[in-house]
């Protein structure tokens, strides 16, 4: 897997998680990533896509109420995070990553006629929002597609929401969960 550029991007995705995402991306064609931040995991997937595959990256790119976001964004001008994300996609074939700058729920609603063969959920970490994200995106999963997400077991809200909304899951790599 090619992870060279992904390693240069700040984020919270561990090495074996990046490896797993890259591996999965190489075998899927229509991928939705919910929560992209600066694009560390986006880039890991994008650099390993097959021809004609597309990643839809959904994020508001304004951060959230979580402390880690505040600390970094408070000292940056408006629009900085989205620009940073776009800069981190430089060098890719220009159509591989399509950003949608909006909330997860808005994007799921607008993309209601699209079907994805891989959906990776890594947006909010509180119970209510994670549950809402999963509920909104699950109907957009193509038959036989891969539904997965980040931070299972480390964020109680994520774990509870996944258990209640997805059903049976397994840990695929460190804190990445996948529906079984």
């Amino acid at each position: 897997m090619n992870l060279e550029r992904a390693h240069q991007i700040h984020g919270w995705m561990a090495e074996d998680e990046l490896e797993w995402l890259a591996q999965q991306a190489s075998t899927h064609k229509r991928i939705a990533e919910i929560g992209s931040w600066k694009g560390r995991s986006t880039r890991a997937m994008a650099d390993n896509l097959s021809d004609g595959a597309v990643i839809v990256a959904v994020d508001t790119w304004v951060g959230s109420d979580e402390d880690a976001h505040h600390a970094e964004l408070n000292v940056q001008p408006n629009g900085w995070l989205f620009d940073e994300f776009k800069r981190n996609m430089n060098g890719l074939s220009p159509f591989k990553v399509q950003p949608f700058q909006m909330t997860s729920i808005e994007a799921a609603h607008l993309l209601k006629d699209a079907r994805f063969d891989m959906i990776f959920i890594d947006a909010a970490h509180d119970y209510e929002n994670v549950k809402a994200d999963i509920s909104a995106w699950k109907p957009l999963l193509a038959e036989g597609g891969l539904l997965c997400g980040h931070d299972y077991g480390t964020w109680p809200g994520v774990t509870q929401a996944v258990d209640e909304t997805v059903g049976s899951v397994r840990l695929a790599a460190f804190t990445i969960w996948e529906k079984v």
């Binding site: 597309v54 159509f95 399509q98 950003p99 700058q101 909006m102």
Partner: protein, 296 residues
């Protein structure tokens, strides 16, 4: 040179749930712009009418638009540093439009069109309400396939294809233009953001924003979000038929050319006015009749 990232998109009060039209002008005379301005006012459009101008726009043009209820947004077009930069000026218009929509997330629909060669024959909000899923975008079709246009749209799209198979997939679709598209404002923001970003990345001297827009329109996920209405649906008409200098270069007939009655272009199938008439200036009789109709 002032970078475009210095552009401060204004925030507007009272726009939640309203529609917005966005046009961009450079140095164009009021005579050429009057039909656009007057037709939009006469159409009954009640949303915000935005006109993005630059340092080359004549003060008289600004005054006339302001008098007709338009809101003027100033930008500075960077000076060209090299001849190949001309197209970049075309791409940046989408940057400004997307920035305005991002800063005003309450808009319902955004209606983008060219300005110098466009008239609104029907209130565009009404057309969108009656004809389009509120979560989609409608975009103007050219009436011929990409494969049938060996000089403009065909090569523009081919340039973006990484394999012959990709072009084979795309060549059968009807071409679209950058001259008129409209719909859900959030989606319009994403679409214009993508067109601008991709144009910046492609950076090929023969690449065009219209090539990028054609590619995106026919490719996942935008192919699930964008509709290209048929001529009988009356969204828009673009003259690429009789009167256009390059009509003989098409390898198939252009579909859906309208008829002109009392200065109004009608769908030849339904006999109803088409909401947006684009490139009407290329047919002398159309231009004369429409300019006369929309003189003040």
């Amino acid at each position: 040179m002032k970078p475009i990232s210095d552009f401060n998109a204004p925030r507007f009060d009272g726009v939640n749930g309203r529609d917005v039209t966005i046009g961009v002008v450079y140095d164009v005379s009021w005579d050429d712009l009057r039909p656009y301005a007057v037709s939009l006012v006469r159409s009954g459009f009640t949303g915000l009418k935005l006109l993005i101008v630059d340092q080359s726009t004549h003060p008289g043009v600004r005054e006339n638009f302001t008098r007709l209820g338009f809101t003027i947004v100033e930008r500075i077009t960077p000076e060209r540093e090299a001849p190949g930069q001309w197209d970049e000026l075309g791409w940046t218009r989408f940057y400004y439009a997307a920035a305005i929509l991002r800063n005003n997330p309450g808009f319902r629909n955004a209606i983008w069109s060219d300005v110098r060669d466009v008239v609104f024959q029907v209130n565009p909000s009404t057309w969108l309400e009656n004809n389009l899923d509120p979560d989609k975008i409608a975009i103007e079709g050219l009436g011929h396939t990409l494969g049938a246009c060996p000089i403009h749209n065909g090569p523009w799209v081919q340039l973006l294809c990484s394999t012959p198979e990709e072009w084979e997939r795309l060549r059968v679709f009807e071409g679209i233009t950058t001259g008129a598209f409209a719909g859900n404002a959030k989606l319009m923001q994403s679409f214009m953001d993508s067109v601008y970003s991709i144009c910046c990345r492609v950076k090929h001297p023969n690449s065009t924003d219209q090539g990028v827009m054609n590619y995106l329109t026919r490719t996942f996920p935008y192919n699930t979000l964008i509709q290209v209405p048929a001529p009988r649906e009356g969204f828009s008409v673009v003259d690429a038929g009789e009167g256009a200098a390059w009509v003989n270069t098409f390898t198939e007939p252009v579909q859906g050319m309208p008829t002109l009655e009392d200065g109004v272009l009608l769908s030849s199938e339904t006999k109803r006015p088409i909401a947006i008439a684009h490139l009407y200036t290329r047919v002398a009789a159309w231009r004369e009749a429409i300019h006369k109709k929309y003189s003040e």
